[in-house]
């Protein structure tokens, strides 16, 4: 954009401003004299003045300055709004308009001396003197225009060009003083700087000031670290350090003061000859830095340099109120309340107590559901009240869960070491890319995640990533890349372990599975199903059994581990490009989202994690397959229908897909399937009770939960139920890909 274009914008803006000012003054004349109206006029004139100054229209700037000053007084109520004043201002507006026109057309500026004098008089007279102004304005001699205007301009520009900090002087000083920096040491003088605790709360960065001091030729003589609190009480937003810089005599004090112009009262400064402040007085007594709240309410901490220097006796240790490990979760939630705790304030709790709380919260969720049900049965439920309690219960539950949550980074941080070990044993050097390491999930999940994750990483390096020469031949960088990521997605955690290796060799996997007797040679399998074979117990494709990935007992254990965590694992592999394992894990083990369904006389819960969609099939979408089986066509893909009643032995359930509801579920081992149920009653959080501890492990059942009406409902283990039921129907090859 050229200067002319910007000027064009300015003049267009002037037109708008003049119009706005005109409207405002008209409103004033008509009786609307509130501060908003006057301020609009002020802002219009002010805006023109700003541009006039920037573009160097001196006459325009001078006039607007006077006009603006008058308007400012009017706005502040110093000059009352009277009829003559409004006339004066309207006259001023006309002249202003002429000024703008003159500036735009490079014409002669209008004669405004009389008007300016009148305005000045109106201000001087303060109250009610406006009518007298014309008289006062009359005396100016016939040709007074240039002088007063210039004087005025000189004044105002002196005012306006005056930087708050004198950068020019500073810049000059820099160039002047850089050379003679190496003068005799006795000529040096000192500056002591101690940014206050709140010094960094206005966007300042003390480091920049230190840097500027060194650029000026200052030498850091001392850094006072005596006020640094123990690590537990350390707040990164607080300044704990003080510095002493010495300067050669050739560097002026003003130049150094300029550095701190923006800092104002946020920083203690002391200037003086080196002799005045002998070094032996250091280290000074620690200036007590009170723990400072994280909230914007800055606590001004008095750390006067005088005290720093002159009273070495008052050694007060920095009080640290809460020497506890910082907990990000607590710190975050803690910053909201009016009296926030010191940053990093936390408390150590025995895990058992926490688990008890989580259990109790689980019971609360059940009790709340039961109460809601009771009230609904009695017709007493008041929707808002229940919604509130429901919301509160959920809040409590989430908070309780958050206490147990930890960032997954603790697991990820072990990976570089694993990779180093692998590099030395396999000779494959692998670059690690990590993202989402702050993603939080349940402590138990994290603890139990280490093993499967380690195994997947070893597997990726051992089987996925090729040897360097092989990679180069394939046109890839010699160094392989392992990508680790974690993210929240709709109440679950997705963890991805990806490599850029050769991908899964499906032919070999298939051959191996046949050889191991896991499948028959004529089995028809999709690519995904072949990939999943690597999770089959006793499967190993490594040409030679390496000591890294073990003896083929790994991947099925990985899958079992993930499954025990209520999660699923999927594979996405592309030959030549690499393989990505995706672990989908619940945020917590204790509570999960489930779909409550009716099957005959039973109520069951289908984990929402497995549910893809639910639908009522059209008659023509259902196709029989043999005597008792049927498939459903879901958008062109045929999916086997599994009546849940068959698996759980429920009586009186519907058996025709056309009468019930189909829940399409995703499984690990058997692709998609559609579970036939009578009806879906609810979708809610269920507290998982282990069947193992209360009864015994049952295949096809993941656990049990207590429903709102007090009944116990089984939670369906979708994976095992589907694969079992498909297997019993003849042939373990899923029918999903028949289409």
């Amino acid at each position: 954009m050229t200067a002319e274009e910007i000027q064009a914008i300015f003049f267009a803006e002037c037109e708008e401003s003049l119009e706005a000012a005109e409207q405002g003054l008209a409103a004033c004349r008509d009786g609307t004299q509130d501060s908003d109206t006057v301020n609009a006029v002020f802002r219009a004139v002010h805006s023109i003045k700003g541009g006039a100054g920037a573009f160097g229209y001196i006459a325009l700037q001078g006039f607007t300055h006077t006009f603006e000053t008058l308007l400012s007084d009017v706005r502040d109520g110093t000059v009352p709004i009277t009829e003559p004043l409004i006339d004066l201002m309207l006259g001023g507006l006309d002249t202003l308009s002429d000024h703008v026109t003159a500036a735009r057309d490079s014409g002669e500026p209008p004669e405004d001396a009389a008007l300016q004098a009148e305005m000045t008089a109106a201000m001087a007279a303060n109250a009610g003197a406006a009518p007298a102004a014309p008289v006062a304005a009359a005396p100016p001699p016939p040709a007074p225009a240039p002088e007063p205007e210039k004087a005025e301009v000189a004044d105002s520009s002196g005012d306006d060009f005056d930087f708050d900090f004198d950068l020019d002087a500073l810049l000059d000083d820099i160039s002047d003083d850089m050379a003679p920096a190496a003068v005799a040491p006795e000529a040096r003088w000192q500056v002591r700087v101690r940014p206050h605790a709140a010094a960094m709360r206005n966007g300042s960065e003390p480091l920049l000031m230190l840097r500027e001091m060194s650029e000026l030729g200052g030498v850091c003589e001392l850094c006072d670290i005596s006020s640094i609190p123990p690590l537990d009480g350390f707040d990164v937003g607080t300044g704990y350090l003080g510095w002493a810089f010495s300067f050669p005599a050739s560097v002026g004090e003003d130049a150094v003061r300029d550095i701190f112009d923006f800092v104002g009262d946020d920083c203690s400064l002391a200037f003086g000859a080196q002799a005045d402040m002998p070094q032996v007085q250091y280290p000074e007594p620690p200036v007590p830095i009170a723990p400072v709240a994280t909230a914007p309410i800055a606590v001004p901490v008095a750390a006067p340099v005088a005290a720093m220097v002159q009273s070495p006796a008052s050694a007060v240790p920095a009080p640290v109120e809460a020497p506890l490990a910082p907990d990000p979760e607590l710190a975050r939630t803690g910053s909201a309340p009016p009296a926030p705790p010191a940053p990093g304030q936390s408390i150590r709790i025995e895990l058992g107590k926490l688990d008890k709380l989580i259990d109790a919260v689980g019971e609360l969720v059940i009790a709340q559901a039961m109460m809601a049900q009771r009230l609904a049965d009695q017709g007493l439920a008041v929707a808002e009240d229940m919604t509130m309690i429901e919301g509160l219960t959920r809040d409590i539950q989430e908070s309780a869960m958050a206490i147990r949550a930890q960032p997954i980074g603790s697991v990820f941080s072990r990976v570089p070491r694993i990779l180093r070990e692998l590099a030395s044993s396999t000779g494959k050097h692998v670059k690690l890319e990590v993202s989402g390491e702050t993603t939080e999930l349940d402590k138990t999940v994290i603890e139990r995640l280490g093993e499967p994750l380690t195994h997947l990483i070893r597997n990726a390096v051992d089987h996925g990533i090729e040897q360097a020469d092989e990679r180069i031949a394939a046109g890839k960088p010699a160094e392989g890349t392992l990508t680790l990521s974690a993210e929240h997605r709709s109440g679950r955690i997705l963890i991805r372990i990806g490599d850029d290796g050769k991908g899964i060799d499906r032919e070999r996997v298939f051959a191996k599975a046949v050889e191991k007797g896991l499948i028959s040679p004529d089995t028809v399998m999709s690519k995904e199903e072949i990939d999943l074979l690597i999770f089959a117990p006793g499967f190993s494709t490594a040409q030679t059994v390496t000591n890294v990935s073990g003896r083929g007992v790994g991947m099925d254990v990985v899958r079992q581990n993930v499954k025990d965590l209520g999660g699923r694992i999927t594979i996405d592999s592309e030959p030549g490009k690499g393989t990505t394992f995706t672990l989908t894990l619940p945020l917590t083990l204790a509570i999960s989202d489930g779909m409550v369904v009716n099957v005959g006389d039973q109520t069951l819960v289908v984990p929402l994690a497995n549910v893809v969609e639910s639908l009522r099939p059209e008659p023509n979408e259902v196709q029989g397959l043999g005597a008792s089986r049927c498939m459903i066509n879901v958008r062109g893909r045929f999916i086997p229908v599994i009546p849940l009643s068959q698996s759980v032995g429920a009586a009186g359930a519907c058996t025709d897909p056309r009468d019930g509801v189909l829940i399409v579920v995703e499984t690990e081992g058997a692709g998609r399937a559609a579970l036939l149920v009578d009806a879906i009653c609810d979708q809610r959080q269920v507290v998982i009770k282990s069947l193992d501890t209360h009864y015994r492990s049952v295949e096809g059942v993941a656990g049990a939960t207590i429903l709102g009406d007090g009944r116990v409902a089984l939670i369906v283990d979708v994976d095992s139920l589907v694969s079992r039921s498909l297997a019993s129907a003849g042939g373990n090859s899923p029918l999903a890909e028949a289409a």
Binding site: I6, I9, H46, A54, R201, N202, G203
Partner: protein, 124 residues
Amino acid sequence: MTTTTTRILTVDDSPSMRALLNHALSGHGFDVSQAEDGMAALDWLAMNEVDVVITDINMPRLDGFGLIERLREGSRHRDRPILVLTTESSDEKKARARAAGATGWIVKPFDPEKLVAAVRRVAH
């Protein structure tokens, strides 16, 4: 200072002032974005990252003081350097801007070199 481009948001209700700022700063390799008042700045900052904010004081809807206060209240822009750029140079205004949490102060009309120096001084 980092080697990456310093991103600046200029907040001013005057299009010509924004154009001038843009002209002065872009020429020095800064990445300049613009907002027409405090509200627009807040909206923009909710979606974008920036290294330095330069704001006018007298603006409709939300003025410069209000903008600074709002930014300091939140956590994302609490440590952002904010320069106040205005034709008003009264001490009272400066004190208010400082109380609101302004990092520095520049008086209009500005000299482009001084403006750039001021931005460099506060840019982290």
